[in-house]
């Protein structure tokens, strides 16, 4: 089984080198792919110097589109599963082995690394925590299983999920709660495992006025999902 570690990166020259080294420390055999979303700093050069695969977008497309480029690459190259983690060092690579162990059991398709299943997690600002809890509740409600961290970017997928996520519906901006509900409707088996996360030093993608757009977008997407017939009707399901 071939795993791929995917790191979406935008202007992460300060962190990308350390993140790659840390992944190598825990997973020396895993291949690493950095998708550089048209960074204006030295992110791509530093990543190349660390001898990992690097794909650069000619211009900035957004977090979701960066991830999807990685999914398309993984599918084309025949990787069996993929684990994605952020380039800012927020996600501790020590847990990648847990993702791999879970995939080896063959009982799940999509794994979410949850900061809330860990005994200790960094302090989260109140409104962000509130948002995470609300969307976690909605995902739990509509998937019928307890999801504590639907906004976690620390996730792992097998090929079944990669095939599903490389379709047109996958959002270019924030693929979070709505995509999880859609994945569940498409018959994808989801599981959460504990993950260690640290506070991010960089500006969050949810900074400025973006939280307002994020909340609007999530509620709208979930509403559209609910009034749709089902994932199998609106998108190609995994078994098609």
């Amino acid at each position: 089984m071939r795993p791929l570690i995917l790191i979406p990166a935008y202007n992460e020259e300060k962190n990308i080198g350390q993140v790659i080294e840390k992944i190598r420390q825990y997973q020396p055999a895993c291949e690493i792919l950095v998708i550089n979303d048209a960074s204006t700093d030295d992110t791509a050069r530093i990543a190349r110097e660390k001898n990992v695969e690097v794909i650069s977008h000619p211009f900035n497309l957004g977090y979701g589109a960066v991830l999807q480029t990685g999914y398309k690459y993984a599918l084309n190259k025949g990787y069996d599963y993929l684990v994605q983690l952020d380039a800012d060092g927020q996600h501790d690579p020590i847990k990648i082995k847990d993702f791999i162990e879970e995939f080896k059991k063959g009982e799940v398709d999509l794994i979410i690394g949850s900061r809330f299943l860990n005994q200790k997690h960094y302090p989260i600002p109140f409104f962000r925590l509130l948002g995470i809890k609300i969307f976690g509740f909605l995902v739990s409600l509509f998937t019928g299983q307890k999801i504590t961290d639907s906004t976690s970017g620390y996730q792992g997928f097998n090929r079944k999920v990669l095939e599903f996520y490389t379709q047109d519906f996958f959002p270019s901006d924030f693929p979070d709660a709505d995509v999880l509900i859609l994945a569940h409707r498409a018959g994808i088996r989801i599981k959460e495992i504990p993950a260690t996360m640290y506070s991010s030093s960089r500006k969050s993608i949810h900074s400025g006025l973006r939280p307002l757009y994020y909340i609007f977008k999530m509620f709208l997407s979930i509403f559209i999902l609910l009034i749709s017939q089902g994932a199998q009707n609106t998108h190609k399901g995994c078994n098609d």
Binding site: Q68, T69, S172
Partner: protein, 114 residues
């Protein structure tokens, strides 16, 4: 509608129609995007010269002032045009995203083959 208002509305609708046709002729505007604009100018033109049609629309809208009715119809068409453009832009954004991803993946493939 006063004669002055009629003249202004006619000049606007005819001017818009001529401008759109000229833009299409010069290949600056694609035919598919000119459709709603031409429809707008023709509809406003008809409202001004065809009193019965204006009265019918006024009754439908329960409007009292003819000038406001023409103005409302113009705004209605502009809203339709804006919506049409939003749909087109969404479609184009998806196409640009797909093309960009393909370009990045192809560049990677080329790099590997070198």
């Amino acid at each position: 509608m006063s004669s002055h208002q009629k003249i202004v509305a006619l000049v606007f609708s005819v001017g818009l129609l001529v401008l759109i046709i000229e833009l299409v002729r010069r290949k600056k505007l694609r035919e598919e995007y000119s459709f709603l604009w031409i429809l707008t100018s023709i509809f406003i033109f008809l409202l001004v010269i065809w009193g019965k049609l204006l009265k019918l629309v006024m009754n439908l809208l329960s409007a009292k002032a003819p000038a406001s009715t023409v103005f409302f119809c113009g705004i209605f068409f502009i809203v339709l045009i804006s919506l049409h453009f939003s749909v087109k832009i969404s479609h184009l954004t998806n196409q640009v995203k797909d093309l960009t991803q393909k370009l990045a993946l192809l560049e990677k493939l080329l790099e590997e083959k070198k």
